[in-house]
């Protein structure tokens, strides 16, 4: 998977069906999308549709039980960010793929969380709908939050993913548009390409090569 939109919300959460989203995603340069709430993974019009689940809980114990219950049929498990300690626990848990909604909390992610995320392979998501939908001061806060996390990522090397947070096929953005939007907070073209490919890497993580004789 070369380019994946890490989170879209098809019907009934949004107004477009999974197939319509997939058709549009192919036109916009994606080869796969993660659909929150999709019953199962499938392939539509040459686009791989990955079933995703978003877990929103306030403490880690509830998150772990939700991962066991809800994550059974999902390929990508995402958890909504909370306060700093909670986020550190989330990024250290191996059953979780993506920590999302990081811009919603003030100082939710620091260098300790970044180091943990890098060692455990959990990705942090940049939701670009936060930049598109918000305006003025709220947008400025999101941009500064993403720039801050990007600085940590460049230092510690944890994974980033990019999502459009689309509730309609009209909210999907092309790879080129995503590159332009990410340039607003200083993300370079090659970093965007790597972030778009990271969902594929989460599903098939790199492992040490063993030589069997």
């Amino acid at each position: 998977m070369i380019a994946t939109d890490a989170c879209v919300y098809p019907y009934p959460a949004g107004d477009s069906s999974i197939r319509r989203m997939a058709l549009e995603a192919r036109k916009l340069g994606f080869d796969s999308i993660v659909c929150a709430g999709a019953p199962e993974s499938s392939e539509v019009a040459g686009v791989r549709v990955l079933a995703g689940v978003i877990i929103s809980r306030s403490n880690m114990k509830e998150v772990i039980s939700a991962v066991r219950k809800e994550g059974r049929h999902a390929e990508i498990i995402m958890v909504n960010a909370g306060e700093e300690r909670f986020n550190r626990s989330v990024v250290s848990y191996h059953g979780i793929h993506i920590l999302r909604g990081i811009s919603h909390v003030k100082r939710g992610f620091d260098h300790v969380g970044a180091k943990t995320a890098a060692s455990s392979g959990v990705a942090v998501d940049f939701d670009l709908s936060e930049i598109i939908q918000k305006n003025g001061h709220a947008r400025q806060k999101v941009l500064s939050c993403y720039a801050d996390i990007l600085r940590l990522q460049r230092h510690y090397g944890f994974r980033l993913t990019l999502s459009g947070g689309a509730h309609s096929y009209l909210d999907l953005r092309s790879v080129r548009d995503m590159t332009n939007l990410c340039a607003l907070f200083g993300m370079k073209k090659d970093e965007v390409a790597e972030a778009l490919a990271n969902v594929g890497r989460l599903l098939s993580p790199e492992q040490v090569v063993e030589v069997i004789r």
Binding site: S17, R20, L23, S174, M178, N180, L184
Partner: protein, 159 residues
């Protein structure tokens, strides 16, 4: 005021974008205000003054914007950040950039026609279906300004 000699004029670039949904009719003036609002929100007054963005045309599902050479990426970013114009939920898909309007004409296609496909019921609500190419179906509840759903023909068979 006399026209400047060509060597002293600003070099311009024209950006072509498709309007989605393609049948949405938008007044060019409203499109200009909406785009300029996004440009000035994203890049500030200084940036907007430097970009000098204007909407040349907004018709038949396409919009052409003009800007100063070197600021095309910023105009494309503004187009990507635009979500609604005049209470219409739309998206602008940038297609091409050129130094002349003539260069963009090759990228403009004729609009597909909306074919009305009767009424269908989804979760107890009546929707009028309009068929588009590639098996796309747009469903309107009541008139076109009310709630919409975007499906495909395969999806309708499931309901």
């Amino acid at each position: 005021m006399r026209a400047r000699p060509p060597t002293l004029r600003d070099k311009k670039r024209y950006v072509l974008a498709a309007i989605e949904p393609c049948y949405t009719e938008i007044d060019p003036r409203q499109m200009y205000y909406a785009l300029f609002d996004v440009v000035s929100s994203l890049f500030g007054d200084v940036g907007a003054g430097r970009i000098k963005m204007t909407v040349i045309s907004c018709d038949k599902g396409y919009v052409i914007a003009r800007c100063i050479r070197g600021t095309e990426a910023q105009v494309e970013t503004a187009m990507a950040a635009l979500t609604s114009v005049d209470e219409h939920h739309i998206a602008l898909r940038t297609l091409a950039t050129s130094g002349t309007l003539h260069g963009l004409k090759g990228c403009i296609r004729t609009l597909p026609t909306l074919a009305e496909g009767g009424v269908c019921m989804i979760e107890g609500q009546d929707y009028t279906a309009f068929h588009l190419p590639l098996e796309k179906v747009d469903l309107f509840m009541g008139n076109k300004d009310q709630e919409r759903l975007y499906f495909t023909e395969d999806d309708l068979e499931e309901f």
